[in-house]
Symmetry: C2
Subunit: 252 residues, 2 copies
């Protein structure tokens, strides 16, 4: 049985709590949040607290708060030499206070408030400063069914950066498509199967091989038509830049 | 029973043939291609031909060839006043020769050579110049399980343009992420669940509401870190432009 104490009450913390709580190999010892209100709904499932001085012994303390608050909360912990990890993709492991054994438990996934998440689909990137701390963090990830990798700081930063491209930026392209279709009374909904298929395609094929369309074919006529249709200058800029990027990738 | 003759042997034509051939409400009368070799493997399933003059009577003739070849092949058809449609998102319906009744049967999906496609996931956009030609095209789409919409030329052009954003451009962002991860010995594979979840998220939520990340939060520190990590100037340009686009969308 792995005992865990959670700190923070955002999306990541809440999803971690739910999946830990469902595992019979994990005991969530306590759940801390600065404001007790946010975790009040879970008080029948776990001991909740808003006082760091009440924290009891646990195998792992997981700090799942906003990036800016990690260093601060880690320095306020009233104990030493315990295993303390944060869950951020971009915060340095050394930002955690050095009085404890430090590590990172970074779930590489986007979490929604509303939807449940099966952790089989949440890869966990683990980093530890003390080598012997790795096995228990790996066991924690495995207990919830997650794929797990040991990554160093550079790899984690790189994955976090790449995640911005495939998640935030991709989602913004969906948003632009939404704006384009709405403005011409076409249905964004009609694009949804294509959105899903595009993501499915690269599960088994490289994005290089999966590419199609006017930019890859260097179909100047269609590209010109599209640019003429676009009314918003920023949409035009995005069209031009990504068309050029595809051309460069495919040697056009 | 709807009788169909297919013209062309590319990805779209091949997927259409397979799904039509599986339906007991559709008879594929003939399959034409300029080069017979491409359709030779199907000669036991359907009458194949490379001679337009051998085309027999059918309810619908579907021209699924490259955009540039549509006008030409439609003018070479040796008959008049039949229902002739193309399958392109961007070609004008009037590019089809006026001697026949013209329409468009545009499948809004990306097709792979290798993978089978369930047409439940292939929305069909239908346009007809003669109103009475709509029902049989709709029946054809419904027979293979496709969602179907009547769209006008403007809406179809808009959907095709928006499809470039959610398919080609999104795929290029996956490619950029592949380049970024490879260059730092991180694993692109580890991003695949996130890619899928990002696409799933907007099936039930608007891209506006689904957005997260440093640009939306206007998290200048993380944005600065990311720009410093990016070595490729074009990657930097994409990062800056899409970050600005997200900021503008969310009023940052």
């Amino acid at each position: 049985m792995i005992s865990v104490t959670l700190l923070g009450a955002g999306n990541v913390a809440t999803h971690l709590f739910k999946t830990f709580n469902n595992s019979n190999q994990i005991a969530v010892k306590q759940w801390f949040n600065r404001s007790i209100d946010a975790i009040e709904p879970f008080k029948n499932d776990v001991a909740i607290t808003d006082d760091l001085n009440t924290l009891q012994d646990a195998d792992i303390y997981i700090i799942a708060v906003s990036d800016d608050a990690i260093a601060d909360i880690s320095s306020q912990l009233p104990f030493e030499n315990k295993l303390v990890v944060h869950t951020s993709g971009s915060v340095n492991v050394h930002d955690l206070n050095a009085k404890n054994r430090r590590g990172v438990f970074y779930p590489l996934q986007t979490f929604s408030k509303s939807a449940e998440m099966d952790f089989v689909n949440v890869p966990i990137c683990i980093e530890t400063l003390v080598k012997t701390d790795y096995p228990i963090l790996k066991a924690l990830a495995v207990a919830v069914g997650s794929p797990v990798r040991k990554v160093n700081s550079e790899q984690r930063r790189t994955l976090h950066l790449a995640a911005v491209f495939v998640n935030n930026f991709t989602n913004q392209l969906y948003r632009v498509a939404h704006e384009i279709t709405e403005s011409e009374e076409a249905e964004f909904d009609f694009l949804k199967p294509l959105i899903l298929e595009t993501a499915k395609k690269v599960q088994n094929m490289s994005p290089y091989l999966a590419q199609t369309g006017p930019a890859k074919r260097n179909d100047k006529k269609t590209i010109k038509k599209h640019l003429k249709l676009l009314k918003n200058d920023q949409h035009k800029d995005i069209y031009n830049l990504l068309t050029q990027s595809i051309k460069d990738t495919h040697g056009r």
